[in-house]
Amino acid sequence: MSDIILETKGLTKHYGGVHALEDANFTLRDGEHVAIMGDNGAGKSTFVRQITGVEQRTSGTIIFGGKEVNFKGPIQAREAGIETVFQTLALADHLDVPDNIFLGREITKWNWLGPFRRLDYKAMRDETLAALEKTAVKIPNINNVIQNMSGGQRQCVAIARTASFHSRLTIMDEPTAALGVQETEQVENIIRNLKKAGEPLILVSHNMRQVFDLVDRIVVFRRGRICANLDIKKDKITGEDVVGYITGAKTGDEYMETAL
């Protein structure tokens, strides 16, 4: 099918003896929003790191946009159009907000100077303010260094970074974990806007209400394996069902032989 934007087959990652991710078969259609749920240590972030090329997988294939891909690093994943908010946020503490948002893709002048091309601070500041308006985050001075900001502000900066650039796939690993009520709502609005724009999303979240509000499908991870694939728009599925899958009380029919 041509409308599948991302597909993984037998995706596996071992850290020495730790089998963090085992034989993950996952598909995402273009425009679809999927949540990944599961307990701490279930392998959700590991899954994200393999797709985005932050780490090299042990085995398995990844097909993105109809082509098999082997990202050597997150740069290549981003160039292919995958924007990611990592759980670790990946911000440079001693730089300010615009610097972080544009890190690695600065707006520049004097481009003939190669690596010594000049930064266009003003343009980056203006675009940063525009991007932050979308998240409605309160940051008194965006030229303050990230180090001095609250956890929620840092998280909003990381989200604004992905939201400022057009992408073919957005991945967010627990984007609202440290946010207040208002900020969470704003992030959810960003996600709804992505949905309206038809951009696909993978959302890692522990927040049941949020997941049911936002996404089309829930994929549950347990001990490194996918143990359920729940179409919450079609089938009647409750929060209790999902909890059952997460804790291991239940297992999806198609995963019976493999899941523990």
Partner: protein
Amino acid sequence: MANTSRGTGGLAFDPKKRSLPSELNIFIALILIVLIFEALGQILPYMNNQSFLFDTRDRFDSIFNEARLRIIILQVSIIGIIALGVTQVIISGGIDLSSGPLVGATAMIAMSFAQTELVNGNPNPKAVFGEWAFDLPVLIPVVVGLAFGAFIGSVNGMLIAFTRIPPFIATLGMFLICRGIAQAWTRGKPVSFPTDSFAFIGKGMMPVAWFIGLAFILHFIMRYTVYGKHTYAIGSNEDAARMSGINVERHKVMVYMIASMLAAFAAIILSSKNLTAQSGMGIFYELYAIAMAVIGGVSLTGGRGSIIGTVLGAMVFGVIQSGFTYIKLDAFFQLMAMGTIIISAVVLDKVRQERATKRS
């Protein structure tokens, strides 16, 4: 100008109350140190009320003790050029210990290509090569020297970036290798008698001009270019830099290469100024350069510091060194005092750092 365009979400921010640049502290320290030495000149009984930096003799054409100022600035300039390079290395989260011996090795090599044939009508007694290497255009020794620096720097950088050995170890190894190269080049014999055009590079106050010029360029690079921003980002959070798409390995090679090229250029200036090159040149320079950066507020943990800070740190360093000589402190006490000052600067930085994180 009421600037409300820096914040979002309607939180108040008064740009007038912006915190003062941290370089100001160093500048104040510089003035305090000068005053302390002035006071010591008045207090210490054996000083006969001499002034440290001001002209106390009955001459009206000058306020300052120009001779001493000139010596301070000259001394600071050559090591200061190395400090500019080491500043960006430390900001990137690394360290470069190889610069001092690199000065010795580069001076020997560059000077070998800068020799003149006739010294006062006699053949050059220190000739390293044959006929062909006499009276070459000045560009050749300069390019050879810089190329040697670039080579050593890129080896440093590649070792650190690709084998992931700690910068301390990589450059410590290179420290010994360079000192070895310097001694092996002529089996320890000095190389002397350069051409006039080579001698011009470091003549008179030329080193100061080079230092100021290079400081401007490095300041611009660190503050206003992609290269500078990425250097800070790597020192601040290497993983984040990598995830943001910065080619961290390639960037580190560049950082060490530029540092070593600056050290090599300092060697060219120094040998030109002294009209001779010796394998022992540049002893302690790597430590002094690091000290200048650290005194100037460059954080050894990476991500923080500035070229302006290092330039001020270099001045503090020069003033202290000259001040010690001025109050006739013995050389061994000078070393001890210098060591104490460097340790204090790092401790102070750490305290400041910890206080900053406690606030957030």
